[in-house]
Amino acid sequence: MLPDLSRDEILRYSRHLLIPEVGLEGQRKLKNSSVLIIGTGGLGSPVSLYLAAAGIGRIGLVDYDVVDSSNLQRQVIHGTSTVGKLKVESAKSKLLDLNPGIQIDIYNEPYTSENALRIAKDYDIILDGTDNFPTRYLTNDVAVFLGKPNVYASIYRFDGQVSVFYAKEGPCYRCLFPEPPPPGLVPSCAEGGVLGVLPGTIGTLQATEALKVLLGIGEPLIGKLLLYNALDMSFDFVKLKKNPNCRVCGPNADIKELIDYEEFCGVPSHDHEEGSAGAGKDISVQELSERMKTNHLKLLDVREPHELQISALPNAVNIPLGQLAARLSELDSADEMVIFCKSGSRSARGLELLASAGFKKVKNLKGGINAWAREVDQSLPLY
């Protein structure tokens, strides 16, 4: 039995009621629907705004992060006034301002194997608005195990992808991507970044698919993947088929319960401490600052060249991490060296690489040049 619409709701949703494909019954369906949005960031912003405006009765938001000013270039649900606040709180107040007649459930916690099934089980569909591989595989597997549609979107720089993974009627995410790229081939943070408007374009397509699935209208992107490129302004569609060897939705599936997704993907899904190479291999920014006054230390910057335009340390040699293995001959293993990057993670990998090549006198700058900018030289910008 679908809920009735109040007089106010009929006025609010009148532009929907005028479309025969939605109409009064469709709007009542939306009021009776629930969606879970994983991530309240770039994709989660337009998705939650439009689904709240559309009158979805109950929206769940999962995010453990706080609003940072570097989010505001694309995460338009938040604002300067909510910097430092919990993202789910910031989003909830915006959504209820937009539409006070709906229910917003917030989950201020990382979405993990421990809580995901409990959180997701009471929602009709799940929207994947995450920004990392472990949570994408988790979101997929949860949707498969609970038999719910996973409305998927993903963005990178100028590229976007949208699909509806629904194992009951078509392929799942793992049918297309059985496993993630190994860590060494995942674009590093230096190669990351996203055009601010891209999640707006892709997130509104994702919200469109969610509405179609909930209303049962049109042809949702089940078994199809939309590929968008902003530079070319191209939209391409490809067909996706169920993979008979899929480990979660295939006939011989061997993954029957949630796994350790960070280990599976080899990358963290949630922020950890600033980059460190481990005990005895690090040097703090304070220690480096002291030693630079007396000693000659070679500084090796393994960031990408365009990052040097943001901040740099004088006299540092720049060899991007991806080129380090091929350019070892430019370095002298007899030198005392400090290797650094933005936050200390890439340089920790660089240190491992150097150590395996016989460089024994290398230390990793813990926290990277951002720690230097915070604690030693505040004239340098943070990024």
Binding site: P181, P182, N229, E262
Partner: protein, 123 residues
């Protein structure tokens, strides 16, 4: 000549080109030609054993070559091939497990260097 569409993450290895014209009568030959033109792209598509990496999805028109004849799928002039990347998002995505679990990290590092092929029917 068939054209191969390069996704943004791999354009760093094709001198920024979004499309590359490739020679060949089948998908495998076209990929070989791509790697001849742009050798640095090879490790991103193939493992050390010369097999297409399992996370690489290549489409001929709107069909995955896995659903056709794999790398033996014939191609002709004017065909459009598309590489479809696995993308996760725009956030900092550096592996940072060394401190928490050096053993895990070394294992992951090894895995990234010698990625095990999966039996997906493509050689």
């Amino acid at each position: 000549m068939p054209v191969l569409r390069i996704p943004t993450p791999l354009r760093a290895y094709t001198s920024g080109k979004s499309e590359v014209s490739v020679n060949g009568s089948n998908v495998g030959e076209a990929l070989t030609d791509l790697m001849t033109q742009f050798p640095p792209i090879k490790p991103h598509l193939f493992n050390e054993g010369g097999e297409l990496r399992p996370f690489v999805n290549l489409f001929l028109g709107e069909n995955n070559i896995k659903d056709l004849q794999g790398v033996s799928t014939p191609i002709k002039d004017g065909d459009k091939l598309m590489l479809i990347p696995s993308i996760a998002g725009g956030r900092h995505c550096e592996p940072d497990r060394a401190k928490q679990s050096p053993i895990l990290w070394r294992r992951l590092l090894r895995r990234s260097l010698s990625f095990a092929p999966r039996n997906d029917g493509i050689k």
